[in-house]
Symmetry: C2
Subunit: 296 residues, 2 copies
Amino acid sequence: MSGEAAFIAALRGLASHPAARGLADDCAVLEVGGETLILTHDMMIEGVHWLAGQDPADVAWKLLATNLSDLAAKGAEPIGVLLGYSLAANDARFAEGLGAALAHFGVPLLGGDTVRNPGPQALGLTALGRACYRPVPSRSGARPGDAVWITGPVGAAMLGFEALSAGDSAADTGTDTTAYRRPVPRLAEGRALAPLVSAMMDVSDGLLLDARRMAEASGVTITLDPAAIPLPPALPPQRARDAMAWGDDYELLFTLAAGAEPPCCAHRIGSVLPCGPAPLLLGGAAPDGPLGFEHC
Amino acid sequence: MSGEAAFIAALRGLASHPAARGLADDCAVLEVGGETLILTHDMMIEGVHWLAGQDPADVAWKLLATNLSDLAAKGAEPIGVLLGYSLAANDARFAEGLGAALAHFGVPLLGGDTVRNPGPQALGLTALGRACYRPVPSRSGARPGDAVWITGPVGAAMLGFEALSAGDSAADTGTDTTAYRRPVPRLAEGRALAPLVSAMMDVSDGLLLDARRMAEASGVTITLDPAAIPLPPALPPQRARDAMAWGDDYELLFTLAAGAEPPCCAHRIGSVLPCGPAPLLLGGAAPDGPLGFEHC
């Protein structure tokens, strides 16, 4: 176990409160005054979570969107957010982008903190939401016989990241980088799905990795049909496997009882089996190679 | 107006939700399901908010304590915290210190995020609390005729910081650095005071600056008696004025109707006047020189 893994394990040990699914499940779920609150906090670091030189308005959008995606996976309605912001060269552009993103999603900024930071810019966002359905969906409820679904394609953010990294503009290559720069959390889909799903999570770190996490949390094996996994039209066929291990698309991965139809646009990509030797099968075999982005 | 000031102003503009006292008042106050929730988020950066090389266990304590102090000023009881953590050299020691601090204050870790960061370590903490008394105290309620009080001395954190900065150990100088390394949020005092005070805030950025903020928010003048301001016994008399402009002591500053006695240990240090030409008087005159630490 690396020092980092030991630290995460130590934090998980500290987070022994029943509400603290946070360190295992991306969100804390808390009963307060007859409501079920969902709390999530994500940090982003310049050069790690976004490309140095990216438009600060896009960074603001993504910071908000990734946290709202955690609420979406819980079928929650956002109440508001708090911002932790280290000052940088183009703060006005960040504020403009944050304002536009907050308005777009109808979410108020409730507070926060600004600090000086001589290093790469560090951002934090805490999102607070209200569960619209109880019990709140978790990643641990998948049952053998369920079908596995996803709300949309994976891989568009990868293409956008690669085009931005290469300094290509859409005019040069025709690549639309929007999916990477401005992901859209599936809030409405999450609320519609919450009463129906047996398990749900957002795909932030790669479909294969997140599907394996769902399988492990549920004590089952998930088998995915590679031909059924939706991919963006612009994706070269030889990049399909890469797209399945790339994150940042923020679609919802969920399981439904066999035969049930989702109330929103979604693609059936696999099914749930009793726990077998491997938690995840792709085309009938345990996948080789990277499954996704392993957070530190 | 500097770029930073313009950014803060822009954020304040975004935070137009009624709950968003956060950017003016350090906390958001939110009605949820019959409860009044208090939310606060502070960031700390290595080399800015703590000395590089400080014991990570002390850093963890201070990160928690400063956020809990914001809850204390609202008379709130902590519900839990979320941690944003960028990995560093001695994560195990941080986890150990955080665990001890959480246990000391009886506060659960509900969730959070860990990230890689090539720069100075960046930490964020979000604290969630439940108001024990409504209306929740704010810094804007001081009224002419009120007396001004503080729960304890200012300056001990300054002495601790100076000793730590100089690399002095307690064995060398006899200086106790605990006040700087491990401030104690006045949670019990805040809860006891909340039903009685007309205004309350914690002194994080310097007594004079925070008193001026309270005066400005309340539309009054606050006059402080320098001889009445409690100082630590170890403070050389010529450092008294410095101590009044130094933060980090996390005592509670509050106003009470004239003649009312606080239900906890506290020192009467001044009184509230109708709004005059200067928001703050010290010994009868507007103070020269720095009043405290102006946040970016």
